[in-house]
Symmetry: C2
């Protein structure tokens, strides 16, 4: 089964738009790294939280992508804007619609 | 922006495969109800938890879909297999890859 990841990150107040923009801008580049889905969303109930839902060919593809120069650059831009509060779920992707 | 939903449900021990099968089987039928993405996944760290990540044209489309006969039938099949423990996140979908 493919590898799924659902994560949230807490953003320092007033910086969510910047963080989301960086994540969305980098998404296309993940296609060649084995990413099938990378959905960037803003919590509708907490204005400082960002959620990402991802599907990868494998956990190895996901983990390896974090070493890409573009990924490191994006992480470097985003980290200073985050509080350090994260949640993460690793999953096995069974199926559904649009995936 | 489109409406995003990330939810988890706890399944009674030994019933996850059944629950996931019902959810996946019903996914295709959601396309005409305004669903763009419905990803059914199994937690990799808790064998009794299912995660779904969804994207809809709007919250109204999502909410209306719960009244569909097929949705009610699926919910009727799944509910007895669940413990009643849910988490839910409502989000605004900004963008990304594959969506």
């Amino acid at each position: 089964m493919r590898y799924g990841y659902i994560g949230s990150m807490k953003v320092k107040p007033g910086h969510r738009t910047e963080v989301v923009a960086v994540l969305v801008a980098g998404a296309d580049g993940l296609r060649n790294a084995g990413c099938d889905l990378y959905v960037v969303t803003e919590s509708a109930t907490d204005e400082d939280t960002v959620w990402v839902s991802e599907v990868w060919e494998s956990k190895e593809h996901h983990d390896a992508s974090l070493q890409l120069p573009e990924a490191k650059a994006a992480i470097g831009k985003v980290m200073p804007l985050l509080t350090g509060e994260f949640t993460r779920q690793e999953t096995h992707v069974v199926g559904g619609l649009g995936i």
